[in-house]
């Protein structure tokens, strides 16, 4: 499972794991009723304490994003599109917040931040019209 967590930042590891699973679900990389890696496998893969993964799975299960079948493992729940949408929105918001935080380190004012965004968007549209793909 392509999950990356990092120990920098304020976000606890288990939250990052949860967020990553939500992201993958939102992107469709994991489909409803797909099996998730076992706690042991995931922990070994991303090199975190199994307790961390266990906590993430536990909370995701409480939130309804995954369900567990005894002896068979954990699986992604079938979700309504709205919920998916909400997930995507939360994900995007987070991404935005991170970007803004980065930029503010340089001491730019809100107006300057908005200008940067506009420029970036323009570059995107230009690339798209020129037939370039995602970078």
């Amino acid at each position: 499972m392509l999950i990356k967590v990092n120990t920098r930042g304020f976000v606890p590891l288990y939250e990052q794991v949860k967020a990553e699973i939500r992201r993958l679900a939102a992107l469709g990389a994991v489909k409803p009723h797909d099996p998730l890696p076992s706690i042991r496998e995931l922990a070994a893969e991303i090199l975190v304490n199994p307790n961390t993964v266990a906590r993430a799975y536990r909370e995701l299960e409480q939130e309804g994003l995954i369900y567990t079948q005894k002896g068979r493992g954990s699986f992604l729940s079938a979700r309504r599109a709205q919920d998916m949408g909400r997930d995507i929105e939360a994900h995007l918001n987070r991404k935005m917040d991170e970007a803004v935080r980065e930029i503010r380190k340089f001491g730019l004012s809100p107006a300057e931040v908005r200008k940067l965004f506009a420029d970036s968007l323009r570059r995107f549209e230009e690339n798209g019209r020129r037939g370039g793909g995602d970078e």
């Binding site: 967590v5 120990t7 920098r8 930042g9 304020f10 606890p12 590891l13 706690i39 042991r40 922990a43 070994a44 991303i46 090199l47 975190v48 304490n49 199994p50 307790n51 961390t52 380190k105 001491g107």
Partner: protein, 293 residues
Amino acid sequence: MSDLLKVEKLSKGFGGRAVLREIGFSVEPGRVYGLLGRNGEGKTTLIRTIMGVIPRDAGVITFKGRALTFGDADYKKEIGYIPEDAFFYGAMSVGGLLEFNGRFFPKWDARKAADDLKRFALDPAAKVRTLSRGQQLKLAFVAALAARPELLLLDDPTSGLDVPTRQDFLRDVIRELAAGGTAVLFSTHLVHELERIVDHLFILHGGRIVLDEAYEKVKGLARRAVLGFDTEPPESPALDGVLSQRRIGKDLELIIYPWNEAVERTLRAMNAARLEIEPLSLEDIFTSFVREA
């Protein structure tokens, strides 16, 4: 949860020099504890004392509710010990050593030992002294875990090994953790690998435990604040919890623990041109706690 291991007022000195001064902490089953300390500050001494390899000068060590004496041996059946340097009999073969070792532990799983040997590609017939450091570490790992211990004591086992080896080791530890519910006390001065797996932190400095806290809490409450000034930076603010500070050009960098609103207010009140507040890596946290004042 009741403590698996509890240490109270443990003191130990060598030739008049005190190394451990009334150390106290406890370890609960199934969690991962990081014991951080600078080189030569007593991590190995502490672990050897717990393992009954050297005697303590004072204090009480309790394992599963029983207070231990220097001569006690039974409790060691539940502890897997991996030290910094390989300490096996060099003349024994790998297989011979595991067989010898197995005789001491009633819960020894010879099957697991054999499987692990295969997994690590260690030749049972090879003499221990011919193994590389990394291989010796793997052997120590096999030996410690085939005994199905309730507590793993790791005394800086990966120092001197390269990064891939260290990562492999970490992975193996994690696999065992996921399997067993073993408690781990991992002492090291190389902290970044610990960051991802540690539940609880102990920092040993000056012979005392200067931090004894759940890692998440520490991470949550530790901050680096950088105040940028256009003119000369002012004197440092009078603040509680400043672990360290330094000037970088016209900037003042403060490491603060624990962070709270009062601290934030005070910093904002200093009216710096720039104020950046960032989380700290475990390495930075550690360094701040153990930097000479």
